[in-house]
């Protein structure tokens, strides 16, 4: 049995053949916000996750009006098929996918293997930024079923029928690190993990070339750690982007019905007063 929604993934060859397809909008979203300017897939729009998709003051991603303004400004219409890709094996591309789905955009795809695979294959990069006519984008009301807030996670602790997936690296899970090892060690007051969470680092879901494993391999990986499709699943990491990668795997590739991404993640939970933490 294959992926539950096979059309959510496109490969690099398909993208290369569709660079001039007017029904597509290709969008790059990276951890390293300078990567796009150094060269990107021809025709790709660049989203800076910090500037374009985050609220400038309070901690949240853009609201509905902000999302509509962003997509309208760069020329993405409601009927466009959006193809997302990025560095670090699509960490922020899958986060953007999750945001697009939160606001109800229909056709969204992820380029399997991301920016690295495109480069490894020797495909072209350009620095020229595309210019598309502005659109009047209309977002849907947020899909609250795919996002979790801290109260929902707290209320779910210890309940049967609930699965928590901590997708961070083993040393972050163990509380030895507060952030990915190559990033500043900041963002939470305490180290550790949410009680009962299974540590399944996001990278377990990909092959050595960065593309997603087969559905059979993914099913064995998650079910082997008790993350089964009958449960209500919460995914989290440090700030919610790596956990979007796992949210994408569970909901879109494996077809789990109840998967929420807790984007407050460890920077929030690890700084809350009087909540349980395991090490």
């Amino acid at each position: 049995m294959g992926y539950a929604k096979p059309d959510v993934l496109v490969d690099t060859a398909w993208v290369a053949e569709n660079l001039k397809n007017p029904t597509l909008r290709i969008v790059e979203v990276d951890v390293d916000t300078s990567a796009y300017d150094s060269g990107h897939v021809p025709g790709a729009i660049g989203f800076n996750w910090r500037v374009d998709i985050q609220e400038p003051v309070r901690r949240d991603f853009v609201n509905k009006a902000g999302f509509e303004a962003l997509l309208g400004r760069v020329g993405i219409g409601n009927d466009h098929t959006v193809v997302l890709y990025g560095d670090n094996n699509n960490w922020f591309a899958t986060w953007a996918y999750w945001v697009f789905k939160y606001y109800g955009h229909g056709p969204v795809r992820v380029m399997d293997g991301g920016r690295k695979k495109w480069i490894d294959e020797g495909r072209p990069l350009v620095r020229e930024k595309p210019s598309h006519p502005a659109t009047r984008y209309v977002a849907r009301d947020p899909d609250a079923g795919i996002r979790a807030f801290r109260e929902q996670v707290h209320a779910a602790l210890g309940k049967s029928g609930v699965g928590l997936v901590d997708v961070r690296s083993p040393k972050e899970f163990a509380g030895e690190l507060l952030a990915p090892e190559n990033l500043p060690q900041e963002g939470a007051q305490r180290g550790g993990h949410i009680p009962g969470a299974a540590n399944i680092p996001w990278g377990m879901a990909v092959r050595e070339d960065g593309t997603f494993k087969s559905a059979e391999e993914l099913r064995a990986l998650y079910e082997g750690k008790g993350i089964t499709p009958d449960k209500e699943i919460f995914t989290y990491c440090r700030i919610g982007e790596r956990s979007s990668h796992t949210w994408f795997v569970l909901r879109e590739l494996l077809g789990y019905g109840k998967v929420r991404n807790y984007d407050g993640s460890w920077t929030e939970w690890g700084s809350l007063v009087n909540v349980p933490i395991e090490k």
């Binding site: 083993p170 972050e172 990915p180 990278g203």
Partner: protein
Amino acid sequence: MTAGDATLKDQIKKVIGQRVTLTLAHRSGLGPTLTGRLLGAVDAADGLVVTVEPETAAGVRRTIHYHDILAVTPESSKGVTGPQWDTQSQMCWSTPRGSRRT
């Protein structure tokens, strides 16, 4: 990242494609050691993720975060560091494989 981590990452990257034995942390859930071909590694901001095809399960891929790898020993280094057990001939020898008489 500690200096030890950086060294281990470099060691792992150098033996991609080779038959290796990984010494693993208990939390990996894969046992104390795993021997097989190191197929590749994904290098991300939170560390290396290593894919191994175990010699006991051809065609199967095991993915391990390098935080759970304590040491990596390539096959090529075994013949020069001490006696090795040849699982095919069921014989033990103390010279590198390349110099073994046939």
